[in-house]
Symmetry: C2
Subunit: 496 residues, 2 copies
């Protein structure tokens, strides 16, 4: 142990990135851009190298390749070949022992299937589950979040959560058995997975039920009318949606079945339950190290430079950060993991800039309904919205792939969103097959979320390529009275 | 302007301390200890050099010297000669123009009667009210707080607040005129000033009325029974105390008088009103610079190292900081200003340590009643208390002056409290004259404030020299059940 520590001389002390998710990968790349010879090590406890999670509840279920959950290859809605892995394992310097930490290599080092158990801020060390200690130059905490559980979940067989590639592979095997699957949760994950499983149901005869306490899908984000409409579309996809259903308990049932009992005394039997009731940021490590935890929002508290304490940075799902524009926030989305990871990496390499990029997020309920959003979008806020009829071009599948739209590009090509150029007005190339809701009331539209009479969030519903415009609306401090005037920028009544 | 900025070469970039109060002075000294040749500049907008405020509402009113408010010399309760000024103006390098900022000098530089109007974190500059710009190496914000006002206070003549030497001089001149003075507020300042003015009343025939909404003096800090008892003692000192009186309005009255109208429709006429209804931390500068403001507690948000953003530190009354032990806090007391200022200074000079010193505070209601406290003391918390009869030795006047007891020593002799030795058990040397409350129920005692069954604060009432023991009780995570066992450490039933 002595020698491992002693071997790490001052100039070689590594940048240690805890967690092998999107935020860490993005930080590693940013550090390498600033300092190509930097000694950067990612330590993660999953079995696969860094990957993006979004396709796990979307495209990977729509693949024609039955082996997709193994290869992690998928076609995005536009038909481009992609891989959930950010890069092949061969592109990393794989480390299996901390003694190899100072190996000469220009590659990002990757130490997998190890958990960091202790952080000592004053000593500048982290300790792994195998007892080895690494002295760091700067450390990034990017430990993400853990899925929440239902109260007695561990007593019941055939109940899983869904976050990792391992979870995908498991659910993929279950969903091939003609089973009845209950998805618990009406948020991002529950809604996406229900639609994805329903697609699979068309060929495999599954039965998909979705249950949650809200009035409709995405009830915590969308205004009520939109929640209701969206629920209708999820039902159209073949999901048996049970809104306003609170779970009293779950239990094992006969013949390897599981049972869900609701507060209204309804009951449901199924083969499997997928629980998607939110996440808890993983902050045990940070808390034990004496870092501040945001008791209100959860997450480790960092300042606008994503620094918690000197030389201790954090990024991604697990941070409560100071957004200079919108106040303290925690964001659980991919683009934020990319941008905050990148930003933290740059600051670790000495830039010391505030994190001002307004990250976006998106969700697709299959290839036909999609939305993108920026800022604070919460159904508790007041909203102003504008709707138009949608055409075939107004679907995620037809959406133009744009530089700041992370769905279309690999993370390594990303520049901070605030630096991207205004979106082009190219026509979409590859319209989706199937129905679009051109005759429906909520075909496409804009929802402006407001607070103290200012626009603080924008939801772009089946409107694509307008994220930068949405950011501008927020950063200009647009007031509620000005909304009418700026709607034209979003071109929703436009020609296509 | 160009030349002033250009003249400040990289190695000479000063440490700029904004505010000339206790926290700044303490930081300046700490930096000088770390780096004797450092270029340290204190910028303040008062007319006098850095001074301590505590004697302004206490000892300076008990002086035999009629000129005390001018000289700022006073005798502490033990009879030692002191001065509220930390050091004579000649011990500073007085700067009147930013062009002189790089003057060779080992002294702390002091720029008085200038207000810092702008902070640019990214450019590392501050701008003064005369338009000059200073590029800093590190900056400390120690802008303290401004007294709150009553709603229509500015419409009324003969109403003042009380925080500065100028305020002292003004009130001193008013309190020599046989006047009727109303003190508004039952907190620290109102209670201390009422007693101090009542002392003056004995020789100058003043009439002192104190009004506030709580049940008794210090009602926001003390448990109810103690509040009531203490109010009795304030009344004994000659103050006409009106608890449970909320002010509806104040107004000018005939013959240069002022009128106070209460919610219960009582009214009061007087010559002067002193408003002591709390402070508002001065954060305009920080807010405009994009620093985070704690919307719940007020104050600029800093981490456990007292850093808000890279190279931007803050200390004293104006900070919301992360206390690793007790959570996020804001503290408006002298010892915290000393210790956090010192700590910030050390970190500015490169120490990067968390602020773990548990600061104490004290208040005296004249020479006969005093208390000291550590941790969270708030009448909203649950308390456990222990009381004993007091003897003549149990008064502030008789209290042993101890290294960690800041009343007895100048700020430059202070070491961080957590480093001070355990208090000696010397007998007090100089017992006060006059009655002590040896026959009273609450003569001396301990109040333990608890949260989640742990002791989080200790009030030492007429018990002196036990601050370190109180700190230990908190830092050991003492539970409510253990209180009985640890009481003996405080020796309140002891021999003297
Ligand atoms: C199925 C799914 C689909 C999603 N789809 C979208 C989408 O369409 N759009 C969108 O914006 N967002 C989406 N998200 C959210 C997005 O994936 C997350 O916001 C993002 O993954 C957060 O990245 P992160 O790096 O902060 O954390 P994570 O991705 O959680 O990565 C953290 C990693 O750290 C590891 N780790 C934790 N603690 C330790 C430790 N002590 N030692 C070592 N390793 C540790 C974890 O095992 C994990 O691998 C989706 C999430 C899921 C689960
Ligand atoms: C009368 C009185 C008695 C007290 N007695 C006690 C006591 O017995 N025990 C105790 O523990 N505490 C006591 N306190 C509280 C204690 O004095 C404060 O907690 C302490 O002064 C805080 O120090 P500070 O340096 O943070 O702020 P301050 O003392 O408020 O100093 C801040 C300084 O910065 C200046 N400033 C502000 N903004 C700018 C700017 N933009 N540019 C330039 N200068 C600026 C202000 O004018 C001020 O001089 C007392 C307070 C008062 C008013
Ligand atoms: N497109 C995207 O951005 C996307 C997609 C998938 C997942 N994610 C992320 O993955 C994480 C997990 O997603 P999620 O949907 O679980 O979280 P979420 O916070 O989006 O939704 C939680 C949902 O859980 C439900 N819920 C809570 N308690 C419940 C209970 N006791 N019984 C039944 N339902 C209950 C509610 O319906 C609520 O909508 C989140 O961080 C989310 O942001 C994001
Ligand atoms: N010994 C000490 O530590 C000490 C001594 C003096 C001053 N100080 C500090 O100086 C500052 C000012 O002291 P303070 O006593 O004004 O503040 P405080 O916060 O101690 O007390 C405020 C008091 O104002 C009163 N109040 C509030 N609103 C009112 C209203 N509308 N009408 C009438 N009364 C009202 C309440 O009685 C309350 O107790 C504080 O930061 C204090 O900590 C500390």
């Amino acid at each position: 142990i002595e020698s491992a520590v002693a071997a790490v001389k001052a100039p070689a002390k590594p940048y240690v990135l805890v967690g092998s998710g999107t935020a860490s990968f993005s930080a590693a790349q940013a550090i390498k851009e600033q300092e190509p010879n930097a000694n950067v090590i990612i330590i993660g406890n999953e079995s696969v190298p860094p990957y993006m999670r979004p396709p796990l509840s979307k495209e990977l279920w729509f693949s024609e390749d039955a082996n997709a959950s193994q290869t992690l290859k998928f076609k995005d809605w536009q038909g481009n070949e992609r891989n959930a892995l950010y890069q092949d394992i061969s592109q990393y310097e794989i480390i299996t022992d901390v003694a190899d930490l100072n190996k000469e290599s220009t590659k990002i080092k990757l130490l997998l299937q190890k958990t960091v158990n202790k952080l000592d801020v004053e000593a500048h060390t982290v300790e792994l589950d195998d007892g080895s200690v690494i002295e760091y130059n700067k450390v990034l905490l990017a430990t993400g979040g853990s899925p929440k559980h239902l109260p007695n979940q561990s007593d019941v067989k055939n109940v899983t959560t869904f976050r990792t590639v391992d979870d995908l592979r498991k659910l993929d095997s279950i969903a091939k058995k003609n089973a009845h699957i209950v998805v618990v949760g009406g948020g991002f994950l529950g809604s996406e997975l229900a639609v994805a499983l329903a697609h699979r149901a068309k060929t495999e005869g599954l039965k998909i039920t979705q249950v949650f306490p809200e009035e409709g899908n995405m009830g915590n984000v969308f205004p009520t009318y939109l929640t209701k409409w969206t629920t209708g579309r999820v039902i159209d996809e073949g999901v048996d949606v049970k809104p306003k259903h609170s779970i009293k308990s779950i239990a094992n049932a006969e013949g390897d079945k599981v049972k869900v009992l609701f507060d209204n005394d309804e009951a449901l039997e199924a083969d499997h339950i997928v629980v998607a009731v939110g996440i808890e940021p993983r902050v045990e490590l940070a808390r034990a190290a004496g870092l501040e935890i945001d008791e209100q929002r959860a997450g480790v508290v960092v300042n606008a430079e994503l620094e918690s304490r000197r030389d201790v940075f954090a990024a991604g799902d697990m941070i409560s950060f100071h957004d200079i524009q919108l106040g303290r926030r925690r964001i659980e989305h991919h683009d934020h993991a990319v941008l905050s990871g990148r930003h933290a990496g740059e600051n670790m390499a000495g830039k010391n800039k505030p994190y001002k990029h307004q990250s976006m997020f998106w969700s697709d309920l299959g290839p036909k309904i999609g939305y993108e959003a920026v800022g604070l979008v919460d159904s508790q806020l007041s909203t102003v919205s504008v709707w138009a009829k949608a055409s075939e071009a107004d679907t995620p599948a037809a959406a133009v792939s744009q530089p700041e739209n992370l769905r279309g590009v690999d993370v390594q090509d990303i520049k901070p969103s605030s630096e991207t150029a205004a979106p082009s007005n190219k026509q979409p190339g590859n319209p989706a097959e199937g129905t679009v809701f051109s005759d429906e009331k909520f075909g496409k539209g804009l929802v402006f979320y407001t607070k103290n009479k200012k626009v603080v969030g924008v939801l772009l519903f089946n409107v694509f390529g307008k994220v930068q415009e949405a950011r501008d609306v927020i950063s200009n401090g647009t007031s509620v009275d000005q909304i009418e005037k700026i709607v034209s920028k979003f071109d929703i009544h436009g020609s296509h």
